[in-house]
């Protein structure tokens, strides 16, 4: 009996014994300390923070690089174990900021890419692990370069003498405008103030450094200035399955205005921001609340709308500039379905 039964206890005699239960419990407890045991030497949050310190690195890219480091430092001996470690690390990263959509989407995409086992089944673990690590590093590379690719793809849409309305402070949009100045295009930018985050002033300062003519508008002056605008360019916190985008509060308003006045609305978003969400209206989003300072004291019984972002449905968007190419909003759901199905 002992030769067929892998139980190391030689006193086993075929009935459920209490030592079985003890061993099962010990084995269950044993699995978790594998991660915590390496805690002092490796923490995914530490790695994440280390990457985030690099200037201009997006959160999601830092998360992806941190997850790649998890694979490298992993002592797992089977693919299942590696996957479990990655899932744990991914969950830890997502809990760092539960409201960030791009962080969540980036981690989910990473897990999807890295654990696709189509070619991994027949290989031994070390080859599979190095292949997975290769993919992870590659994904990190691609995500890092995504901004440059988007900037190059969007150049044709900016013509000489155009006026661009920008909302929010998106590093991708800034990259697009920088590349346009490098290509010697002449254009003018209108920035919305972006209360209460002051994004407008920050962006205007950056653009002034590039010698781009900038005009600041208060958020309510958008409709007033819309007829001199040729196009609206915004970034995105996340791109949802319907092809709509989730972005800083005010984007929906501006998109509605632009649509009613026949101005194109372009969204610049990296492909790791494609999320498996399908909001049907504004309240379907996970709330991301932040404090708003009105400058004067507001009595506590007055309610304040503190949401930081809104959802813009796809019918108000003209084009999405992504590192996968220039896409119409209907392509996004196609892409996501192909990936996850």
């Amino acid at each position: 009996m002992t030769e067929v039964n892998p139980n190391p206890n030689p006193n086993h005699n075929g009935i459920v014994a209490s030592d079985w239960i003890e061993q099962a419990q010990a084995a269950a407890l044993l699995r978790y300390p594998v991660i915590a045991g390496r805690g002092p030497s490796f923490s995914v949050i530490e790695e994440f923070n280390k990457w985030r310190q690099q200037a201009d690195l997006a959160e999601a890219v830092a998360a992806i690089r941190a997850l790649a480091a998890v694979i490298r430092a992993s002592e797992a001996r089977t693919m299942m174990e590696l996957e479990i470690e990655l899932k744990k690390a991914s969950a830890t990263l997502k809990s760092w900021d539960t409201t960030s959509i791009s962080l969540r989407a980036g981690c989910d995409l990473f897990m999807r890419y890295v654990t696709r086992t189509s070619a991994l089944e027949s290989e031994d673990f070390n080859t599979a692990k190095s292949r997975v690590l290769g993919r992870a590093e590659k994904f990190g590379e691609i995500s890092y370069k995504a901004r440059k690719i988007i900037a190059v793809l969007s150049q044709d849409f900016i013509f000489d003498g155009c006026t661009i309305l920008v909302h929010g402070f998106s590093r991708v949009v800034l990259e697009i405008l920088k590349t346009a100045t490098q290509n010697k295009k002449l254009f003018r930018v209108l920035c919305t103030e972006g209360r209460p985050d002051k994004t407008g002033v920050l962006l205007a300062k950056e653009l002034a450094k590039l010698d781009v003519p900038v005009k600041l508008l208060i958020d309510s002056a958008v409709a007033y200035s819309m007829d001199e605008v040729d196009m609206v360019i915004v970034g995105a916190d996340g791109v949802v399955e319907s092809g709509g985008v989730i972005n800083m509060m005010g984007t929906y308003q501006i998109a509605l205005l632009a649509h009613s006045m026949n101005k194109p609305v372009y969204v610049a978003a990296e492909s790791y921001k494609f999320a498996r969400l399908y909001p049907l209206d504004q309240k379907d989003l996970a709330p991301a609340l932040r404090p708003i300072d009105f400058g004067v004291h507001v009595p506590p019984k007055i309610e304040v709308e503190r949401s930081a972002r809104d959802y813009t449905p796809p019918q108000y968007l003209t084009m999405l500039f992504t590192d996968l190419g220039v896409l119409t909003p209907s392509v996004v759901s196609d892409e996501l379905i192909q990936l996850y199905l």
Binding site: G134, D156, F159, V331, Q338
Partner: protein, 390 residues
């Protein structure tokens, strides 16, 4: 080879002087020319597909530069390039799966999947597989063959690629020639009894479409806008009457007045762009706006050689052709105004109009009827991402 060169130069001349009219005729001539280029090109031992692609691309760039407004030329060149890549790929996977039987180690399915992804535009799925494994595939075919086969086999494999490409091009010629029948077959689904159809310009596709519905015993009326200044509408009206259809000719300015009495607007496109926007004869934008206002479906007919993978940037100017003002004004009529150094009168005679995708209800191609937002899919089927810039 010198024969092909002179053919190319002759065709370039014809294109530059706008001697060939119509996308279908231009597309056919371009394909025939590219077929001779492919047949006469001498292929090197290794990297045959790349050599063919470079040759076709060189000729294609000349043709596109000669007439940048005729998008069918660029479309057809890109189709041929896509055919070359596809045929090379299928030969490569066939060769690799043979090698795999000798125990080369790389699973044929993996290689095929990775290589196939190089032809499709970048997508979330293939983002990573695209570059890691594909770099090996296009070259294993040529190099693997070199080591395995003898010289007699080598020349037969050269021939194989050329034969396959020629076969693909013949299929393309057939598709271009048959597009009218394919589209006309769908007429019966869209035109119903006692309907009133509005059309503009003189498109052979529209003519065949309407006549096919007539053949199937649907009785309907056609309003034809005359399409000044060329009055192509008159030509179409005569042909429709010859085929027994009840026709009414209206002026272009009457389109908005009549649109409320119309059930459907059907026009033939000059080109359909990647965002679903349509380039058609001048006046279609006006008809599209009128149709939108009165909720009349705006249907566009386009053969697959008219699908262009580019996005339109300022199409009213850049993708338009200004014809001679003599079509509007007789010589001598305004000569006193036009004679001075900087005349106060200018005459603009554009050929094409751009209709944004939001105004188009349906695009009917030889594969069926599609939403304009679906164009990206058809483009991904027919063209490779590497060929967009020539």
């Amino acid at each position: 080879m010198p024969d092909v060169q002179s053919m190319v130069l002759e065709f370039v001349n014809k294109l530059r002087k706008r001697k060939i009219e119509g996308s279908q005729a231009t597309a056919r001539c371009t394909v025939e020319l590219l077929k001779s280029v492919v047949s006469h090109h001498r292929l090197p031992r290794a990297n045959q597909a790349s050599a063919l692609i470079d040759a076709v691309r060189g000729v294609g760039a000349q043709l596109v530069a000669a007439n940048p407004v005729e998008l069918a030329v660029g479309n057809v060149v890109r189709r041929v390039l896509h055919i070359i890549r596809e045929e090379d790929l299928s030969l490569a996977t066939a060769a690799v799966s043979e090698l795999d039987f000798n125990g080369e180690g790389m699973s044929a399915a993996v290689v095929a999947a990775a290589a196939r992804s190089t032809l499709r535009p970048p997508s979330l799925q293939t983002l990573l597989e695209g570059t890691t494994e594909s770099a090996t595939v296009p070259y294993t075919f040529s190099s693997g063959v070199d080591s395995e086969s003898k010289t007699a086999d080598k020349s037969s494999i050269t021939q194989k690629l050329k034969d396959d490409v020629r076969g693909g091009i013949d299929q393309l010629i057939k598709d271009i020639t048959d597009c009218h029948e394919q589209i006309a077959e769908q007429a019966i689904e869209h035109i119903h009894q006692n309907e009133v159809i509005l059309t503009l310009g003189n498109s052979r596709t529209v003519l065949e479409f309407l006549c096919a519905a007539k053949e199937k015993k649907r009785s309907f009326r056609v309003f034809v806008a005359e399409g000044a200044p060329r009055y192509q509408g008159h030509v179409l009206a005569k042909e429709l009457v010859a085929r027994g259809l009840q026709t009414t000719v209206i002026t272009d300015s009457a389109v908005f007045a009549m649109i409320s009495r119309v059930n459907m607007v059907i026009i033939g496109a000059h080109a359909v762009m990647a965002n679903g926007g349509v380039i058609g004869p001048v006046g279609v934008n006006m008809a599209a706006l009128a149709a939108k206002k009165h909720a009349v479906p705006f249907v566009v007919l386009a053969g697959s050689h008219k699908l262009c993978p580019l996005y339109p940037h300022n199409p009213e100017v850049l993708l338009n052709e200004l014809r001679s003002p003599c079509e509007l004004l007789d010589f001598g009529e305004f000569s006193d105004c036009l004679d001075s150094g900087s005349p106060l009168v200018q005459v603009v005679n554009p050929t094409f109009d751009y209709v944004p995708p939001s105004l188009v209800s349906l695009v009917i191609t030889d594969t069926g009827g599609h939403n304009p937002s679906y164009m990206y899919r058809l483009i991904a089927d027919y063209y490779s991402a590497d060929d967009l810039v020539m």
